[in-house]
Subunit: 433 residues, 2 copies
Amino acid sequence: PYQQTTYDFFIPSKTRVDLTEKMWASVQTMDGLPQLENYHSLFSLDINTRKNVTTFGFPSWLYKAKSRKNGKYYALRRIAGYRLSNERALHAVKDWKKIKNANIVTVHEAFTVRQFHDSSLIFAYDYHPLAKTLHQQHFPAQPPTTAARGPRAAPKNIDEPILWGYICQIANALKDIHSSNLAARCIDLTKIIITSQNRIRLSACSVLDVLQFEDQRPLQELQQEDLLSFGKVILALATNNPNIQPGNAKAAMEGLGTRYTVPFKNAVTWLCTPAAIAEDWTIKCFLSGISGHLAKALDNSFSAYDEQTSILAQELENGRAARLMMKLAVINDRPVRGLPSPNWSEAHERNLLKLFRDYVFHQVDAEGRPVLDIGHMLSCMNKLDAGTDERVLLTSLDNETVIVCTYKEVKQMLNRSFNELMRCSSSRDGNPE
Amino acid sequence: PYQQTTYDFFIPSKTRVDLTEKMWASVQTMDGLPQLENYHSLFSLDINTRKNVTTFGFPSWLYKAKSRKNGKYYALRRIAGYRLSNERALHAVKDWKKIKNANIVTVHEAFTVRQFHDSSLIFAYDYHPLAKTLHQQHFPAQPPTTAARGPRAAPKNIDEPILWGYICQIANALKDIHSSNLAARCIDLTKIIITSQNRIRLSACSVLDVLQFEDQRPLQELQQEDLLSFGKVILALATNNPNIQPGNAKAAMEGLGTRYTVPFKNAVTWLCTPAAIAEDWTIKCFLSGISGHLAKALDNSFSAYDEQTSILAQELENGRAARLMMKLAVINDRPVRGLPSPNWSEAHERNLLKLFRDYVFHQVDAEGRPVLDIGHMLSCMNKLDAGTDERVLLTSLDNETVIVCTYKEVKQMLNRSFNELMRCSSSRDGNPE
Ligand SMILES: Nc1ncnc2c1ncn2[C@@H]1O[C@H](COP(=O)(O)OP(=O)(O)OP(=O)(O)O)[C@@H](O)[C@H]1O
Ligand SMILES: Nc1ncnc2c1ncn2[C@@H]1O[C@H](COP(=O)(O)OP(=O)(O)OP(=O)(O)O)[C@@H](O)[C@H]1O
Ligand SMILES: [Mg+2]
Ligand SMILES: [Mg+2]
């Protein structure tokens, strides 16, 4: 896993594109939105413009915003037109703040604002750039022309391993939630988000606990509702039908047919069917029934981690090369102002470093054509970083000077020169070592 | 997670040190060892020099080696002095090759060699740099002086969550092994290796299947032995006693006392106690009993993945900066030989790029002292990469030339110049884009 060829250096991979897009999504800005007390630079994350009130009973909006306190990004969910009648309702968020689970979007705080020219309630969550809801991912809006032309496109079945992955993750989230004496109340295709390849998170925890603070229902009832909603979500995905209702669930279950295995159908049926004895119908029981799949999910996650680690190991080489190139760039051809001594730049060592620079970056072939060989540049940087005993032949342009020295010596000169510059510089904390 | 401050750029973290050390460990070389047919550059991985024959009945040695076929590193386990009497015994490795599990060191092949001046059997495994055995990690050899001075140092108890992590991982490995109709036969403190923080792998699969090919025992018996060995390993770690025998296991179990929870003690006891009904004593049953801990392990693994991803996102900035610096270095101050035109270097665009280079790397403060501000260099590289509309004021040394241009324009000039060089270069595949 720690072996690198030249061409690995610039990973042209999905990973790089993905991370870069996320980085750009994070820094996007937008005009016309208000500033809130602790948050600024609001950016709307809503993709569909329909104001859906079914989930919370109120229209909700989502914004990315930057915190004034720590400079980090957050996702703010605004419940529009909600008037908080009891400040204690906000305490419900306190229990949620404690829950740190890899399949739950962490809740940070809730507060009321008037900056939207109404009374709005805001919930602050971790921000996950480029997140999509399960609904967006698996039931993408049909282009209007197709929709007009006829029935829905032929259903694309989601592979069972992916659904087991979702099942294990929702179960993991519910385990922590239920054992903290809470209920999720947001297991819904539009409230579960995909934050990276096949990784999902519950995105709207605590909202209903605050909104319905005045009419609290028994915890057990709410937790059992979570199991039912869980079953409905999986059933919807497996049957390519986003509108599972109590009325059509049974038919949908039968419609699973032979595309899915018996254990899978059993798991979905179990979730959708309240048990006679309440103790037998809990997330704990469910977990023990899917333990083999939990082990598989663990195995997959370990492998993904290993893969990420080996990419990281390659990228670290970039860091080393970047550091050295900065040092060289700072020293080479530096104008005379502010140098340790007026002839510093022209002194023997700097001249040598310049010849080394030419050797690395200004190579020409026998016919005098430029050689732009990344592999050569990188391998030089790696040898320089390691300070090897390998010798390098440095020749001046006019062939007057020919010097042989080791990478080790070049490294020493580079560090010495850089440190000399550091000593007479105004910022002493910048040594990239 | 995708937010970066200047000082994040050069991650001074455990991760970096760890990965770098592993990289160096991978490339270490050693003299005096033979070359095998498909492997060269053997390097001994044995740390203790005692020749322990208890595990396999033969002394075994471990080497890192490089494959001639694909240039990758492998760990070769040599069983010294073993004479293969039946070629068919090597077929046992075929089933093992198919098993890909994140908690099992992948087996690649087995073959006999005579290059060690004896008849040796070699097993090739994935190489995991700087792996330690559980024994080395948790029962480090006492320095001789301390050992002479008195009893073993006071036992350091391993925290229960770490042990649950080990339990989930060994269970995950055994699940795949047993369901493939195999048995691990190497669940032992010295044959389980730690390959990164709390991550373990079975390191000696398939060896006994080959060595004891002639006297095969019933599969069920071997799988049940795996469960017992599993229990013994965990018991040894929990009681800080590497020598658990059938005779002292019961006492050790009682010795777990109050340091560990009841579910933990139950799990260990279950493993160490053969059940009356064979169907009740399988790894599948065990998994379903620890499902809550599997979910926790999954959660931890997801979090580790997320952490690694955010480090990777930071490191990608290095890659971008390195690419741009290479381009700049290739162009700036390039001698005249082999250029698109004799005055190419001095033309307007190159002059501008040179001024830009000075702006980035040769800054001085009001008193003319060098400013070595990595943050400045990096932020310039990031803006250049993005091609922003932000303006930059470029001044020549003599203040004769003052030019204002955007990063976007600088980026265009850089790419144009680089591509011109590319066109007249001998290597056309090197564009670091
Ligand atoms: N924590 C978050 N970080 C980043 N993006 C998020 C986060 N939570 C949700 N999103 C994204 O914001 C968008 C809006 O989310 P929302 O929950 O409003 O979904 P919706 O499809 O609009 O549902 P509804 O119709 O109920 O409003 C979705 O694309 C979703 O993926
Ligand atoms: N696949 C592997 N890749 C890298 N290192 C490994 C691998 N397998 C084992 N090692 C390391 O090689 C060393 C020797 O392994 P070995 O299995 O011989 O352990 P040991 O302590 O010497 O046990 P024994 O006394 O039975 O030989 C250990 O430090 C171990 O961590
Ligand atoms: Mg919405
Ligand atoms: Mg050994």
